[in-house]
């Protein structure tokens, strides 16, 4: 049941009607839980056991940790007079150790499941090749992925770590907790919501309000526009590229040249953004109607002026998760402190470069590890590791070489506030992002390198004009993609200037007539230009596979 399908629309509408029709508002969350359970079982019946294991183990671990904390505080309070400061500290440390053991066991179990399901075949194949055997002979697990496993595992473990850190109180009602983990609008492709931003909204009471309804519907159609008009049309071209054998070609096709590879990469950049952010817009729209605000996951990422800024604007909730639960713990660990101190204490540490490095080296290393994790999160393939290493290297180097970069800019008398310079920075960042995408498009790491070589060495317009025909898109479809991209660009610039999040918010200041006109126009565009009908096989959301 894809987010853009009619059965899903019917399911969402029925859920919405029951949600607001329920006589006692304190049971609204039960409606969401039933709907989410139905949605999960309907879509991923044979793998329901995995999400249940996650819900139950994390629920138990979180309550256990909170109970230990509560008991410790009460004991320390009861023995306030008798215990010395050292005794209190020893007691607290012992209970902290217990909590840490519970946390570690539960994290190992849940990431273990994720690892087994997603990466076992890749690693067992790689180990077999290393040992000189064939990857095909290695033991394999033959399973499809449970729906949303990468998303719900991160959502649930983030909550567990928050409880461990005592920044949130645990949910004592397992059914309410189950709703937080399995909430249907975010299970397919995120966002990776944080507990303190979402949970109270899920279990709270909500009235149907006109402003929420209007903004929600607008967001849903904006998402449908991105997905059905732009992404699915572009996807047909990309699919043909794969079907024709990519660089290697087929028996009757010689393989694509550099200009086509560049064109496909650009098409992919457009498709990936509209597909993923379009899906998020639909989810956020559905939630908005029910009075629930899902976190923003995209903020015009292609306008970023540096790669680290890009990662604060693209898949924002994954970046935030990585920052809170991977980056900070590594960068603030004792090992990092010792490495920094060792650099500062060495003779190299006395030089200007050494001083700078002692400050940023461990932070840069931590961000490299984060991007390796982001790469691996996307899937088990050498190309995703290449993708992670590429992004990590750029961020690491830009942090370490920051002063050199500033100096050369000053030496060239470049005003960092000048518009042309900012535009240049955006373009430069986009090129770096595009190189990362080539890792995504490629079959594997070697193929990605071949693609990059071709883009540089094999630009040929007449070959391109011939080869573009093999994508099988009609002129009207190119026109549709162009028109869609222009509208998207215009709206993105408006959002960037106003710092607003959705087109609906942009329209809020306009008259009612303009708002209706815009909504009807959007619906018309989706109906007339959207990719569907019995002949079309609507593309699944790209991020659904992760």
């Amino acid at each position: 049941m894809a987010l853009t399908s009619l059965p899903f629309a019917a399911f969402a509408i029925i859920t919405g009607i029951v949600y607001f029709a329920v006589p006692k508002k304190q049971y609204q969350w039960v409606v969401l839980l039933i709907a989410s359970s139905f949605f999960y079982v309907y879509n991923s019946f044979q793998y329901t056991v995995f999400i249940l294991v996650t819900i139950i183990t994390i629920y138990l671990a979180a309550t256990k940790m909170a109970d230990i904390s509560k008991y410790t505080k009460a004991e320390v309070k009861n023995h306030k007079a008798e215990w010395s400061k050292e005794e209190k500290k020893a007691f607290k440390d012992a209970s902290q150790k217990k909590r840490r053991r519970v946390l570690a066991a539960c994290l190992i179990l849940n990431f273990g499941i994720l690892f087994l399901l997603k990466y076992f075949n890749f690693f067992s194949g790689s180990i077999a090749s290393l040992l000189g055997g064939s990857p095909d002979e290695a033991p394999q697990i033959h399973l499809l992925l449970p729906l949303g496993v990468s998303f719900y595992t991160f959502i649930a473990t983030g909550y567990l770590i928050d409880v461990y850190r005592e920044t949130v109180e645990p949910e004592r009602n397992i059914f309410k907790f189950a709703l937080f983990v399995s909430f249907f609008p975010q299970i397919i492709q995120g966002p990776i919501s944080s507990y303190n931003k979402l949970h109270s909204q899920l279990i709270g009471e909500h009235k149907l309000e006109w402003i929420n309804f209007k903004q929600g519907v607008m967001n849903i159609f904006w998402g449908l526009f991105k997905k059905l008009v732009i992404a699915d049309c572009a996807w047909r071209g990309i699919k043909a590229y794969y079907a024709n054998g990519g660089l290697n070609g087929t028996a009757d096709f010689e393989g694509y040249g550099g200009t086509m590879v560049l064109f496909i990469s650009l098409l992919y950049a457009l498709q990936l953004y509209t597909d993923f952010s379009g899906g998020i817009d639909i989810s956020r729209g559905i939630c908005r109607i029910m009075g629930i605000e899902l976190e923003v996951n995209f903020r015009q990422p292609y306008f970023s002026k540096s790669i680290s800024e890009y990662w604060r604007r693209w898949h924002i909730t994954l970046g935030a998760w990585m920052k809170n639960y991977v980056f900070y713990p590594i960068a603030m660990s004792d090992l990092s402190k010792r490495i920094s101190a060792a650099i500062a204490g060495s003779s190299f540490g006395k030089t200007a470069a050494g001083k700078h490095l002692s400050k940023v080296f461990t932070t840069a290393m931590a961000s490299f590890i984060v991007f390796l994790c982001v790469g691996i999160w996307h899937g088990a393939n050498s190309k995703y590791i290449g993708f992670g290493v590429w992004n990590g290297l750029i961020i690491m180097l830009s942090a370490m070489l920051g002063p050199v970069y500033d100096k050369s800019r000053n030496a060239l008398h470049i005003n960092s506030e000048a518009a042309w310079w900012k535009l240049f920075q955006m373009l430069r960042t986009f090129v770096i992002v595009l190189i990362g995408y080539i890792f995504d498009i490629a079959d594997n790491f070697t193929n990605a390198i071949q693609m990059m070589k071709l883009i540089i060495s094999d630009q040929n317009k007449s070959v391109f004009m011939e080869q573009i025909k093999t994508l099988g898109l009609y002129k009207t479809e190119y026109a549709t993609i162009m028109l869609g991209a222009m509208i998207l660009l215009y709206i993105s610039i408006r959002l960037e200037i106003t710092s607003l999040d959705t087109p609906g918010e942009l329209l809020e200041r306009r008259s009612g007539f303009i708002q209706w006109l815009a909504l009807l126009g959007l619906i018309m565009l989706v109906l007339v230009l959207g990719t569907y009908g019995p002949l079309y096989d609507p593309a699944e959301f790209v991020y659904m596979q992760f």
């Binding site: 809170n324 900070y328 603030m332 920094s340």
Partner: protein, 76 residues
């Protein structure tokens, strides 16, 4: 407060720390800034800031940071 302001101004001379109230949520301090800031604060005030303390509310303004420092000093 003076010592804190000195550390902050050395870290990012371009920011008006006395007036700014959304240093983290407004994206003025990035995660690299936060990590160097944490190191400096730990040394200067003899405290241990942990990842759990790195919520935006603790770092959005100089006052919030001071409150966090005082809280951690009490706990030590």
């Amino acid at each position: 407060m003076e010592e804190l302001m000195e550390i902050l101004e050395e870290l990012r001379p371009d920011v008006d720390f006395a007036a700014e109230k959304s240093l983290v949520t407004g994206g003025i301090l990035d995660s690299f800034d936060i990590i160097s800031l944490v190191g400096n604060l730990n040394d200067a005030f003899d405290i241990t800031i942990r990842p759990a303390n790195l919520v935006p509310e603790n770092f959005n303004s100089a006052e919030a940071m001071l409150a966090l420092i005082e809280k951690l000093q009490e706990e030590e």
